[in-house]
Amino acid sequence: MSSEVREQPQIEAVREAFEQEFGRFARFRGAEASAGVDALKSSEAETLLREVGDLRTRHTGKKSALANLKKMIGRVAPEERAAFGQQAQQLEAAIIESLEEVESLIGNHVARLRVERELLDVTLPGRRPRRGHQHPITLVRQRIEDIFVAMGYTVEDGPEIETDFYNFDALNIPRAHPARSPQDTFYTSEGFALRSQTSTVQIHAMQRRKPPLRVIAPGKVFRRDTPDATHNPMFFQLEGLLVDRGITMGHLKGTVTEFLRRLYGPQTRTRFRPSYFPFTEPSAEFDFSCFKCNGAGCRLCKGSGWIELGGSGMVHPNVLRAVDIDPQEFSGFAFGFGIDRMCMLNFGLDDIRLLFENDVRFLEQFN
C-alpha cells in the first residue's frame, strides 16, 4: 500500500462520492449478483443499464471528479507525486472495474431477454402468394411430348371439327362402320364431324410432309358417350405415326416399349394383342407391365399384371395411298392412346369426370 499523501482526503472524497451513488448497484456484485439480475424484467434491466452508463459518464468522463484528481498530479509535491498518482490510478481502476462488472452483467441479461423476445416459430408457413396449378392432362401431355420430341418426333395438330374425308374416308373407315353413325360421332348442322380420333392428324401430317416422317398428335377428340365414371364425350388422345422404308411391327413394338420405359421406368415390358382398326393392318392393342406391381398383379391392374393402354398397327395401304405414298416403297406404324386414361392411371383417379369439373380442391393436388 502506498504511503499517506497530503491530498489523501480528496482521493477519499472521490471514492466516497462514487461509492454512494454506486451503492444501489452493489447487489449486482458478489455472490447474489446473478440472482439479482435474473429477477429483472427487461424494462427494468434496460433502465438500469442506461443508469450505469450515466454513472460511468459522470464518474469517469472528462469532467468527472476523477478526471480532476488526475489533473492534480502535476501540482502535487514532487516527493508525493508518485504515490498520489498511484493511488489515483488505483481508484480509477476500481471504479471502472465496478462499473464494467455491473454493466456487462446487466447488459448480458438484456441481450438474453432480447433473444428470448425475438424468438421465431420457424415452422410457420413462409410468406408467398398462393400458386395456381397446371391441369393434370397438361402435365401428362407435356411429359409425353418431351419424351417423343427427344425420340425425334414432331408434334402436330389439326382441326377439331373435321370433314368426313379426314375423319373417316382417308382413314379407310368403311361407309357402314358404326363409328360414322350419329350414335357415335357428333355432327354439326353443316355436316362436319367432331374428330373422333386424333388419327385425322396422320392424314394432315402426311399431306404436309413427305416420308420419312415421325409425328405425334396430342389433342381433343369427341365421341357420343354419356358422361359416367369411366367415360366422357370429350377426351384427349395421342396419336403417333412413323413412315419410312422397311418399317415393321418390331419397330412399332420397340418404339412403344421405349416410350413406356422412359415414362414408367426401365423394367417396363409391353405386349401386343391382335385387334381391328380400319386404318391399320395388321392391328394390335398394346398392354404394358403394371408400373405399380411390375407384373405381379395388384388392384391397379386388376390382378393381371398388365395394363391396357391403346391401339396400334401398321398403316393401312389405303391410308398411305390416300395421301399419295406408295405402300410398296414405304411402310409405317401408328399408335394411339388416351391421355385421360394415362392421367387416371398415373394419379389413381377413380372418376374421369373430375377432369372437367375444375373443382379447385381437385386441381390443387397436381404439381
Partner: protein, 708 residues
C-alpha cells in the same frame, strides 16, 4: 359387340381338349378378346368382344374355326340330315324376289306336321346359359342355328301366309306391320319386307310379324334363310329403332354361302325335336351367285410387315385352318401343290372365304398369319434415328403463359367444347369470330349428348363461369381459373369448314390468399386480373400491348377494358356485369377476361437491346395531383412524355388515393418522375425547373391541382 360362347358347344364343334381358362388365354392372344368367363351349370360361358370386321365370330362355328387353327384339328359338323324327308318345297310354297338389289339370295324350306312344344331340357339349358330366352321348340331351333352357324333364320306358320307364298319387296309407303314384340310399326318405301300375297309378314333381316308367327296350333312351318344387303338392314333397323340379333348380323355381313347349310341344320333339328317331315330341298333364289375374291400373298411380305420369320408352309397351314384356301402358287415355276415344300414358291394366291369379307388384300393375310403365329414373338426394335424432334409451334410461349398464370394464383381448367344454347348472346365474342353483321356465326351440333349443349363454344367464359359456380356449390368461394382452348365460328362462306381460334380466358373471384395460410390477405379486384394477364403477356414476351377503357356486353360499365395488340382489338377484361352474374347466381364480384391467344402467339416478341448504364446519378421527384377521377394514369403519363424533355427518363405510378381530404369525384394521383442527363449530374435548380413545367402542364391540361 359381345358374343356369349358356350364352352360345351365349342367342344362339340372342335373336339379341342383345352380348359375354359386355357381357351380364354389362347383366344385372347389370337385377337379374340375374351372379356369374361363364367360358370353356367355344367357349362362355362366365354364372353367375347367381337370387332366390327369379324361378324363370322358372332357364331360358335366362327369361334370354332379359330380354336381349330390354334389347337389343331378340324371343325366337326353337327347333324345336317333331316330325320324324315319327303316332297319338294315348290310343291308347298313359292318365293318371288322383287327387290333383288336388297336381297341377293333367298331360301325357303318347309317342315310339315310338326308338334309345337317346349324345347327339350338340353336345348333350354344351352340357350339360357348364353343368355337367350326359350320360347318353343321351333322358334328355339331357329335361334339355336343362328347362334351355331351365324345365319339368322325365321320360321313362318305356313297356314297363315296368304296363298302360302312369299314375296320379297320394298314396303309400300305407310304400310303397317305388327312385329313379334307386339309393336305396330309404320314402314317406309325404302324398307325391305317379306310379304305374302297380301301384306308384309316380316321386316327383312330385322324381325318377323306377329300374325304369322309360330303358335301352339302351327302344323306346317316355312323356314326362311336369306342374305339381305347390310346397308338396307342397317337403315331399316335405325329408322325403326329396332335392333335384333338378326339385324346385328346382317348389318355386319353374314356368310353369303351359309343359307342352305343353315336350312339343313334347322330341318334336322326340327324333325328330331318337333317331329314332322321336311321337304327334300330348299327353294333357292340366287340369281347372281357371288364369286369369292382371290388374294395374293408374297410370303416375304409377312416378315417385311411384322418382322416375324414365318416359313411359307406355316403361312399356308394357318390360312388353311382358317378356311382361307390356297388357290395357286407361283414363283420359281412351282405348282400349287409344292407351295408348302422346301424352297417353295415365293408367292401364292388364296381364296377369301364367303364368311370373311375382311380378307381382301395381302396385308389382311399377313395379319391372319401374324396373329396366329404369335405377336408375342415380335421383338422390340427401335427404328434408326434419322431426324430431330420438334415441338408444336409456339409450345415454349404456351408453357410460359401457363406458368405465369399459375404464379398469379390461377389454376388451369379444362371444360367441354360444347356449351348450352342458353349462353347464346350472353358474351361479347372475340373480334375475329363474328362472321358478318346480323348473321349468326355459331356452330351447332345436330346430336348433342348432354341436353342443351348443342353449341360448339364461341367463348370459353360460359363454361369457366359454370366451373366457378361448381366450386361455389362445394364451398370454395375464392376461385381463380384459366383455360386455354379452341373456340369456334362458322366458316366465312356457308358450307366452309368452321374456323377454330385458340382463346385464353380467366375468371377471378373472392380473396387473395397465401400458400399455407387460412384467411384472406385482401379482396381480389380488377387489377389482380389485369396483373395476371400482364404477367402472361410478359412471360410470352409479347410486344406492343395496350389496355383502353371500353364497354362490352358481359362487363359492367366503367370496369371494362379492351386489350389492344399492336392497335388491334384482341379481347376484353373487366368485372362481370350484374345481369350475367345473376344468371349464374353469383353474389360476389367476378372478374373475367378472354383474349385471342392465337393472335398473342403470332404477335412479335420484344427484342432485347442493351442500354448503356447511366454514368451520372438521376434525380427522382414525385408529384401528387388532385384531378377529376376520370383523368386516367395513361393520359397523365402520355402528357408528360409528350413534352419530349430529354432529361425525363421514366414516369411511374406511386399510388392513387380517393377518400378523406379529396373532394368527391376527384382523386389524388402521385407520379414519380426520374430525371437524368447522360453527360453531367443535374443541378437541383435544373430539376426544379423541369418538374415545375411538368406540373404546370398537368394542371393546365387536366385541371389538376398540385397537393403540397
Amino acid at each position: 359387340m359381345l358374343m356369349n360362347i358356350s364352352y360345351n358347344w365349342l367342344r362339340e364343334l372342335t373336339g379341342a381338349r383345352l380348359t375354359a381358362g386355357e381357351l380364354r388365354e389362347r383366344l385372347t392372344t389370337a385377337g379374340l378378346e375374351v372379356e369374361a368367363v363364367h360358370e353356367a351349370g355344367d357349362d362355362f360361358v366365354l364372353e367375347i368382344a367381337v370387332s366390327s370386321n369379324r361378324p363370322d365370330l358372332l357364331s360358335h362355328l366362327g369361334v370354332a374355326r379359330e380354336v381349330c387353327t390354334l389347337a389343331g384339328g378340324e371343325v366337326r359338323w353337327p347333324e345336317m340330315r333331316a330325320a324324315r324327308e319327303e316332297g319338294r318345297t315348290e310343291s308347298f310354297t313359292s318365293v318371288e324376289v322383287e327387290a333383288a338389289d336388297l336381297c341377293p339370295r333367298f331360301t325357303a324350306r318347309v317342315v310339315r306336321g310338326v308338334r309345337i312344344a317346349p324345347s327339350p331340357a338340353w336345348l333350354v339349358a344351352r340357350l339360357q346359359a348364353i343368355g337367350q330366352r326359350p320360347i318353343n321348340n321351333v322358334a328355339d331351333i331357329t335361334n339355336y342355328v343362328m347362334l351355331e352357324l351365324g345365319q339368322p333364320l325365321h320360321a313362318f306358320d305356313l297356314e297363315k301366309l296368304n296363298e302360302r307364298r312369299l314375296v320379297i319387296r320394298r314396303a309400300r309407303a305407310g304400310e303397317r306391320l305388327t312385329t313379334l314384340d307386339g309393336v305396330e310399326r309404320e314402314l317406309d318405301a325404302e324398307m325391305l319386307v317379306i310379304a305374302d300375297a297380301a301384306r308384309a309378314v316380316a321386316i327383312a333381316g330385322v324381325m318377323g310379324g306377329a300374325e304369322t308367327e309360330i303358335s301352339g296350333a302351327t302344323e306346317d312351318v316355312l323356314i326362311e334363310a336369306a342374305h339381305f344387303a347390310p346397308a338396307s338392314v342397317r337403315r331399316t333397323s335405325r329408322a325403326l329403332g329396332l335392333q335384333t340379333e338378326a339385324s346385328d348380323r346382317f348389318e355386319r355381313g353374314i356368310d353369303y354361302e351359309g343359307q342352305l347349310r343353315a336350312q339343313a341344320r334347322a330341318a334336322a333339328l326340327i324333325t328330331e325335336l318337333a317331329g314332322g317331315t321336311a321337304t327334300t330341298d330348299a327353294i333357292d333364289v340366287y340369281p347372281q351367285p357371288l364369286t369369292p375374291p382371290l388374294v395374293p400373298l408374297r410370303f416375304a411380305r409377312v416378315r417385311e410387315l411384322t418382322s416375324l420369320d414365318v416359313p411359307p408352309e406355316d403361312s399356308i397351314r394357318i390360312l388353311g385352318a382358317l378356311g382361307i384356301e390356297l388357290a395357286g402358287a407361283n414363283g420359281a415355276g412351282r405348282s400349287a401343290a409344292d407351295a408348302g415344300g422346301q424352297g417353295a414358291a415365293s408367292e401364292a394366291t388364296f381364296v377369301s372365304p364367303s364368311w370373311r369379307a375382311d380378307i381382301r388384300i395381302e396385308e389382311d393375310l399377313v395379319e391372319e398369319v401374324g396373329r396366329h403365329f404369335g405377336y408375342d414373338k415380335v421383338s422390340d426394335t427401335l427404328p434408326a434415328a434419322n431426324v430431330a424432334g420438334e415441338y408444336g409451334a409456339h409450345e415454349g410461349r404456351r408453357r410460359e403463359a401457363r406458368r405465369a398464370l399459375n404464379a398469379c394464383g390461377f389454376d388451369e381448367a379444362l371444360t367441354y367444347s360444347f356449351i348450352d344454347t342458353a349462353h347464346d348472346e350472353q358474351f361479347e365474342l372475340l373480334p375475329g369470330l363474328v362472321r358478318r353483321a346480323g348473321e349468326s356465326s355459331l356452330v351447332t351440333l345436330n346430336n348433342p349428348i348432354i341436353e342443351g349443349a348443342a353449341r360448339m363454344r364461341p367463348t370459353l367464359l360460359a363454361a369457366l363461369l359454370e366451373s366457378a359456380r361448381h366450386n361455389f356449390n362445394h364451398g370454395t368461394r375464392d376461385v381463380r381459373l384459366f383455360e386455354l382452348g379452341r373456340v369456334f365460328a362458322a366458316g366465312v362462306e356457308a358450307g366452309d369448314q368452321p374456323r377454330e381460334t385458340e382463346a385464353c380466358a380467366l375468371v377471378a373471384t373472392g380473396v387473395a390468399t397465401e400458400e399455407g395460410h387460412a384467411g384472406a390477405s385482401r379482396e381480389l379486384d380488377f387489377y389482380d386480373l389485369k396483373g395476371a394477364l400482364e404477367a402472361a403477356l410478359a412471360a410470352m414476351n409479347v410486344s406492343s400491348v395496350e389496355f383502353a377503357a371500353t364497354s362490352a356486353r358481359h362487363l359492367r360499365e366503367g370496369q371494362a377494358a379492351q386489350i389492344l395488340l399492336a392497335g388491334n382489338a384482341a379481347g376484353v377484361l373487366g368485372r362481370l356485369a350484374d345481369d350475367v352474374a345473376a344468371v349464374y347466381k353469383f353474389k360476389q364480384p367476378i372478374y373475367v377476361a378472354e383474349v385471342d391467344f392465337t393472335s398473342l402467339l403470332a404477335a412479335g416478341e420484344t427484342s432485347v437491346r442493351y442500354a448503356p448504364l447511366a454514368r451520372f446519378p438521376g434525380v427522382v421527384r414525385d408529384a401528387s395531383l388532385v384531378a377529376d377521377r376520370r383523368v386516367t394514369f395513361a393520359e397523365m403519363r402520355r402528357a408528360v412524355l409528350e413534352l419530349n424533355l430529354e432529361q425525363v427518363r421514366r414516369v411511374t405510378l406511386v399510388y392513387v388515393y380517393e377518400g378523406e381530404r379529396v373532394p368527391e369525384g376527384q382523386r389524388s394521383m402521385t407520379l414519380r418522375i426520374e430525371y437524368r442527363a447522360d453527360d453531367r449530374t443535374l443541378r437541383d435548380q435544373e430539376v426544379d425547373e423541369l418538374h415545375g413545367r411538368i406540373v404546370n402542364t398537368l394542371e393546365e391540361k387536366f385541371g389538376a391541382q398540385l397537393k403540397r
